[in-house]
Amino acid sequence: MTGIVALYIFMLAAFTGYEVIAKVPVILHTPLMSGSNFVHGIVLVGAMVALGNAHTTLEKVIGSIGVFMAAGNAAGGYVVTERMLEMFKASGTRKKPGGH
């Protein structure tokens, strides 16, 4: 991947992120922030490669902390987002009071 191609990817991805969010209603701000928080959990794949190629003990320890935290970011982000979004329902599908 040459530098200029990387810059193209960067620019297009930045526009994409902006456009995807631009028209979001306030009611979804919190779940969406949580959802984007989950998406940057992709740092896990980078942390896996960094740890997988580590040589010294120091590198392995730091790499393991990185993988641990990245996995926490991804898994935690998914669970809390899913829990929040699961609850959004329209009138037609409403539950009876007291039922969960």
């Binding site: 930045a14 919190t30 940057h40 992709i42 942390a47 896996m48 490669v49 990185g66």
Partner: protein, 469 residues
Amino acid sequence: METLLGAEGRQWLIQASYLLTAFLFIMGLKRMSSPVTARSGIVWAGAGMLVATLFTFLFPGLGNYEWLLPAIIAGTALAWWSGRRVAMTDMPQMIALYNGFGGGAAAAIAAVELYRGEQMSLTMSILAVVGALIGAISFSGSLIAFGKLQGLIKRSFRFRGQNIVNLLIIAATVLVGAFIATGYHADPFHVTMHVTLFFVLALLFGLMMTLPIGGADMPVVISMYNAFTGLAVAFEGFVMQNAAMIIAGTVVGSAGTLLTQLMARAMNRSLGNVLFSGFGDTGGAAAGGTVTGSMKPIEAADVGVMMAFAQKVIVVPGYGMAVAQAQHKVWELCQLLIDRGVMVRFAIHPVAGRMPGHMNVLLAEAGVPYDLIADLDEINAEFETADVALIIGANDVVNPVARTDKSSPIYGMPILNADKAKNVIVIKRGQGAGFSGIENALFYLDNTRMLYGDGQAAASQLIQAVKAI
């Protein structure tokens, strides 16, 4: 796995899987921006994450499985467990915690690369250092945000010249970072020294920057750190030549920046104001003109009759309702009214929860359908035609002095026009002032009646009152 495919074939498979992941992430986020499709959005994005993680195991030369697998399993299990358990009211701080982890992971990747001290091109080492800086700030800053919202850190640390001290810390960090990025002729000992100093300074800066910020402003700060982590991931993605990280990180970076601006605007604050002024603290001095008149109490039975025979009732919930765990009872009450033919709507102020949209989550948890919930712009014109505005746990967001009194600290903040309703019922625990310590002129109006009591108990009484009719 070495026999499965040649190194080249495996690289191709990994790249193809990352492309699929990027597609699933973007589609997932897109679906998450509408309440109708939001639930499927996170599932799409989750599938993307799973694909990328599994295919990364094909990476040629990947080793250290005895470190790798326990770290993945422990991180996943711990976060999954905590994410399942956390109460909906505590969601904002959990998001902060997981976000901090992401920033820390990006910084850790950079640390592995930088401690190794291998020759990199200048562009790459600058990107690695900048990503490390942003990631480390996001890590320590998010942990402080978590601590504040969780109530572990009670007070805001402020002193004279704080902004100057912070400026000096960040200047020193950038200086050491520049030295690392350009100075790879240094011997291993000095590399280790410089990199360690750099991370200590960067973590300290995140700490110092977040400590003075008050709890009410934290949501904006968390959103900003979310964007920071995205950018840090993108920068480390460049260093590792990893397209999935570049795309996902950049998308989150720009989406998060926009979301931060939207949140700040919804709270009537600018980002600079949030970061450098140290307002947003709950201990702010009460100011503004005195309010004349008296608060007039009312009994639950009378309120029940009033609402049961109304045509339109607008409920204005605040964080106080969630603290009292009254949302289930309030919704039960509203369903009784709906069954009687009353038109019921919920009016949500942008700062009604702990962060914009948080109140919607709390109402959704109680089972309130989202099409009954309206935000400020949608509902404000409707108060004039409402027979009853029921205020429960909200205070400053319905205070009319924000429109009229220039000396009030909340002057200029957009408010819900509950005072325009024919009758205003305020459920309130006692006679004290609100979150910001400002007297609420709404409580003293001629069309306002106070129903004193705990939110949950008051809602139960109202349910009994309506049922008794």
